[in-house]
Symmetry: C2
Subunit: 447 residues, 2 copies
Amino acid sequence: MYDIIIIGAGPGGYVMAERAGHLGKKVLLIEKAHLGGVCLNHGCIPTKTLLNSAKHYLHAKEASSFGVNVGEVTFDLGKAMSWKDDVIKTLRAGIAYMMKKNKVEVVQGEATFLGTGKVQVGDTVYEGEAVVLATGSVPLIPPIPGADQEHVYTNREALTATKMPESLVVIGGGVIGIEFASFFSSFGVKVDVIEMMDEIIPFMDKGMAKEFRKALKKTVKFHLGCRVELIDGHDVQYTDEKGEKRSINADVVLMAVGRKLNLTGMGFEEAGLDFDNSGIKVDEQMRTNLPNVYAIGDVTGKSLLAHSASRMGEVALNTICGKSDRVRYNTIPWAIYSIPECAGCGLTEEQAKEQGHNVKTASLPMTVSGRFLAENGKRAPGLVKVIADADSDILLGVHMMGAGCSEMIFGAAIMLETELRIKECKEIVFPHPTVGEVMRDTMFAVK
Amino acid sequence: MYDIIIIGAGPGGYVMAERAGHLGKKVLLIEKAHLGGVCLNHGCIPTKTLLNSAKHYLHAKEASSFGVNVGEVTFDLGKAMSWKDDVIKTLRAGIAYMMKKNKVEVVQGEATFLGTGKVQVGDTVYEGEAVVLATGSVPLIPPIPGADQEHVYTNREALTATKMPESLVVIGGGVIGIEFASFFSSFGVKVDVIEMMDEIIPFMDKGMAKEFRKALKKTVKFHLGCRVELIDGHDVQYTDEKGEKRSINADVVLMAVGRKLNLTGMGFEEAGLDFDNSGIKVDEQMRTNLPNVYAIGDVTGKSLLAHSASRMGEVALNTICGKSDRVRYNTIPWAIYSIPECAGCGLTEEQAKEQGHNVKTASLPMTVSGRFLAENGKRAPGLVKVIADADSDILLGVHMMGAGCSEMIFGAAIMLETELRIKECKEIVFPHPTVGEVMRDTMFAVK
């Protein structure tokens, strides 16, 4: 009898298992593939590792501005992939070590959920006080004829490519699509992104998304408001925003239209779990409709981010332990690791207005920062936008674009979590000279 | 008649002038040299610009691990210096633009303070409601025989060097000494640092300082507890910690033992201003003993950091405007831009104990972060240390070492400013995968 059985060892499951084990709980963690889930093995980590290679490549190309002369700069995809594989292996081993250290039992296999307290793997039925469903998601393949060809990739195939494509069409201008577009275009691959909506990254502040697309446009061609109809061999055929038929020929096509939640084939329906295509229904404490059964991460459909999954796991654990807690989805930051990076936390200007706020905002280019200028030059893309409630002066959102902003946005999460007013944000001292200071300067520009 | 006359256009003076002008105040800003003061012209900005070149150089050298092949990597000091000069020029022009935009009058010349309301430049006496003394500091040259030779540099000469020295002795293991040691040693220059105290960076948490020195030791040789007696030509003669006489021969010697406050020759004494060698005496609102006379920045001796000076200027301005405000020195972050970087905010473990706290702490290597590992490898130096009060659970200090930490420490400043408990810090969500997550993980490790 376990205290907690967790199905799925992604960033929801393994973080919860580690924290629960640390508290002395008897934990069983079931994983059908590798520890770390999609995030570590086919998502966040490998993409960021490869994007780091792209950043090194571009840095080497521009290093002479800073007095660093290099010879010819070339890219060895095989070596970059090896580095990525090493990183994955090291991190997998790290999770395995943490599981052992915190006395979490790990079982490899496909789990079937039998209802409250019971999970089957192979012939064995495991019993636990609490069951946590953290089964994640897979790439969504839309029913486009020709999508089943070998040169039509998802993130999984793109992350194990053995040669650089000559040209690439990315279907979908969301985070995954944009990160791959940025990666491949860094090395001169001709990249076209086809997006159905009228702007990339649908959840972004519209003004920022436009600036972001402009920055990416130097190396990537965008086709907005377009619908892909057919992939005929290497021809991607689509209808453009005016209803006209068009096509782009590409060596490789990357399918990045979204994620499908893992809800089927694991006994959820048979057990009477309340769920639909948008996810397993959970309350603010991650409880499902079944007693002592919790769901966390992508499979809840609430937020498809690795760190959201981890936080949901922490809330589920606190709930199991009788402590009050809840996920505040409005203070969860996000980041895109493209070149340039983008990040945000809190409301966009559109959301703030929709929610009835009397909005005040300010935007400043990152070039007002001495450090940004020193490290990136005057023409580098970079922008910070701050959104606040004009009546209460309370900060509502921070949105950033520019080198390194993925590592700064957690600061905005703290300001939002502690519900600071702009007046109070201005009293926080940032070290000089840092790029982060632009966030502070933007606070001073809000009116 | 001005509302505010500010003497000194460093980060104390020009930031205050800008904010005051923005509020509609009639401001006169007097500067004897260049807008931006030491920080922009001979300090923060040029050192960070050159250290960015060093980072590019080292990145290019290690890029092949990530699949980026470059030919021979060489360093062109002249080109790096040109880039640095361009950055300074752009930023000076930026300040001039901001002064104009906010209707701040700028006068070039040496100011004499004549007492409350009066400042003279050349033959002109300017009158103002409030006078702000922001006169800064210069390098301290200790009375060591031979310190007046041409190859004995301060930061100013090091920042305009036209050729790389073959070898360098740095006298002083504080921030300035360490940043230059890191810069020159990055390119293979033989560097020795001689420090009188038994550890480098005296204000740092002792445990962190030791780890930092260990990380730097790969390229820099340290001589702690040693006192330099004489610079005989190129021989730097010193007494070691056992009292033995030793010497190191060096092409260039860098004097980096500290800063001397600019207190003399400007009429301070004649005007009856209360000051001594440790600085102008000010209260929490930056008021001096003379009515409507304020002092901010280095010259107060309270904190010799650019961003402290800016914050002091903001507090002085709020005081002038009748708003309550004060600088909380315990939440001002600091950063060292060496390779690796270091940063901190709040109390060190030693300070926390001295102040009577029942201390709880935790430290984690940065390699627990997937992104840090992906971008730096398993052997890269990186560490986060968190200090909290065991009784109240309130966070007291955060100390970091590792690539990029200078851009993360402002987050710790927010947590300290808002007086978060460790329990509350754990509820803040950091994006995954980021290096910053190590801060969060360390919060979970505190016990």
